[in-house]
């Protein structure tokens, strides 16, 4: 059974902002990464899932219930982390968590305390004075503390340091093993790569692709930066090799490689290589490389 089902969702804000004829579904136990650059319409979709917005066209359902009209029923089984964190004025961390637990009618605090420990959250400080990362952690604890069946997380790791990002990834995998269904949005591929089973990519409000994470990795191109000892050998390498050269600049060659790198290493053996780097590919690069030949992806990414 599909836990989250979006069917032909359209919300037009004009100027090609919003969501346009969006259709996808998320199965029980699936971790779905919702990927897109800023302003692509990720949050608009999430607002529909939360029942904050009424679609112009189409339907949005969670657990078989309409998100707009039955949102309070859906929320019994849902954990939500908003993209922008704002709380009540003047509360400290623990007061906020207690308040949210009361709003949910939640009595059992064992999971909450476990999460507070896991994220090393200081719950005594006033929320107003917390750092962005601390607020983010508070939001995460709040989203998970009632052991919900479905989780919607809007850019969950923004503001977290690498150690906490790792702790968060661990938490997601643990929840996955419990059969939870999770949708998390992100603008960074790396964030989603660690945890997600499937990825949906949205651009200018339209879903461009949904891909299995496994397939996506196979198709993934990596970008390498090779620094040669001289510009002549750099250009010689660029001319002679059959690789996909992106750029040659003085003694530096930038190229992209699909799949394994055996041929690449062999070809480099004939040269003096001063340095070899991989470039962390941002979402736009990945997008260009997976879907670069699609007509609308060319210019204004």
């Amino acid at each position: 059974m599909s836990i989250i089902e979006i069917n032909g969702l359209t919300k037009d804000y004009g100027d090609h902002k919003g969501n346009f004829d969006l259709t996808f579904s998320i199965e029980e136990g699936e971790i779905f990464g919702y990927l897109g650059p800023n302003g692509a319409g990720k949050t608009t979709t999430i607002r529909h899932l939360m029942g904050f917005l009424t679609p112009d066209k189409g339907s949005v359902q969670i657990l078989g219930l309409d998100c707009r009209s039955s949102s309070a029923d859906i929320m019994k089984h849902m954990g939500y982390l908003p993209g922008e964190i704002a709380f009540f004025d003047g509360m400290n961390g623990m007061e906020f968590l207690n308040f949210m637990a009361e709003m949910r009618g939640l009595r059992d605090t064992s999971l909450r305390d476990k999460l507070v420990d896991l994220f090393e959250l200081d719950t005594k400080g006033k929320i107003r004075k917390m750092s962005k990362g601390m607020k983010q952690k508070l939001g995460i604890v709040c989203a998970f503390m009632h052991d919900p069946r479905v989780l919607i997380l809007d850019e969950p790791t923004s503001g977290l340091d690498p150690l906490m990002q790792k702790a968060f990834a661990g938490l997601i995998l643990e929840e996955k093993s419990k059969g939870k269904t999770i949708l998390m949005s992100s603008h960074s591929f790396e964030e989603i790569e660690r945890t997600c089973d499937r990825v949906g990519i949205i651009r200018q409000g339209e879903l461009v692709a949904t891909e299995n994470m496994h397939d996506l990795r196979l198709k993934r191109r990596k970008i390498y930066l090779v620094i040669f000892d001289s510009s002549t050998s750099a250009s010689r390498f660029a001319d002679s090799s059959g690789f996909d050269i992106i750029d040659v600049n003085d003694n530096t060659v930038k190229l992209s490689i699909l799949g394994n790198v055996t041929e690449f290493i062999k070809a480099l053996q004939n040269y003096t290589v001063l340095d070899l780097n991989t470039e962390t590919s941002n979402l736009e690069d990945i997008f260009m490389h997976y879907y670069g030949d699609k007509p609308h992806s060319a210019s204004n990414m």
């Binding site: 309070a72 019994k76 709380f87 709003m103």
Partner: protein, 266 residues
């Protein structure tokens, strides 16, 4: 029906402003009551006659009769009761819905198993009950003080009606504030209607009191429906009370409706 934890949080958020306004009211009310002196009332009127009529009228002090009820009616219910609790209701109304939407904390409230209607009901109940408590407190203190300083001098019936009238007026005023709070996405616009409208009503009321030439303005302010002279005179106030009650019901109803139906940018 209601969300108890939200009610608790809202009370915690607002009790300070509530207490401050009550404290200021309690500063004025005893002073005004004890200032009353039947003997000097005549001479006071003479002093008032020497001042520019327009200015005095604007403050609602125009027709001061000889009775204690006229005195309190002019000095307290002519102006202070319109201004001070209004400061509280403007703040409370804006905080109850609009500021949660503006700040984004509404996203948290709605991510719990509580419907929008339940949240709006809880917040509106808080406003209605708190302003009722405030007016009731004024009523009780007014009665006790008048009776202590001038036993049997106060027209209790008229005094109670005057308080009922101001309460109905505040139900209507908070109706506008609540509606604006439900309708707008940000505090700025919510305040423009929720605060701008009652303040404009008050200013128009003051100008319309100044004289013949400006008296037509009374048709442009809701505060005309709270007419102290009519209440003390015992005539013609019932239709006005009914009108205020209808405005209140309609505005609160509209507030619930738009908040339930509209898109929230959370």
């Amino acid at each position: 029906m209601l969300s108890k934890p939200l009610l608790k949080a809202t009370i915690k958020q607002n009790y300070m402003v509530f207490l401050i306004i009550v404290a200021v009211l309690m500063l004025y009310l005893p002073i005004i009551i004890t200032m009353y002196d039947p003997a000097t009332q005549e001479s006071l009127n003479k002093v008032l006659d020497t001042m520019p009529q327009g200015m005095i009228a604007a403050m609602g002090f125009s027709e001061i009769g000889a009775d204690l009820i006229d005195f309190i009616g002019s000095y307290f219910y002519g102006f202070l009761i319109l201004l001070l609790p209004m400061i509280y209701t403007i703040i409370a109304c804006n905080r109850c819905i609009a500021s949660h939407v503006d700040k984004g904390s509404m996203a948290y409230l709605l991510s719990t198993p509580n419907t929008r209607s339940k949240i709006a009901r809880t917040q509106s109940l808080f406003i209605i009950v708190s302003i009722t408590i405030m007016i009731a407190f004024i009523t009780i203190v007014g009665l006790v003080l008048s009776n202590a300083t001038f036993p049997d001098k106060l027209d209790i019936n008229a005094f109670l009606l005057m308080n009922l009238g101001s309460l109905l007026l505040y139900y209507a005023v908070t109706g506008f504030g609540f509606f604006a709070s439900c309708l707008f996405n940000d505090t700025k616009n919510s305040l423009m209607i929720g605060a701008g409208l009652p303040v404009a009503f008050l200013v128009i009321q003051m100008i319309s009191d100044v004289g013949e030439k400006t008296s037509f303005l009374k048709y442009f302010t809701m505060f005309t429906l709270f007419d102290v002279d009519k209440i003390i005179g015992g005539q013609g106030y019932i239709p006005q009370f009914i009108a205020l009650a209808i405005i209140a019901v309609v505005m609160y109803g509209l507030g619930f409706y738009v908040f339930k139906k509209r898109d929230l940018p959370l």
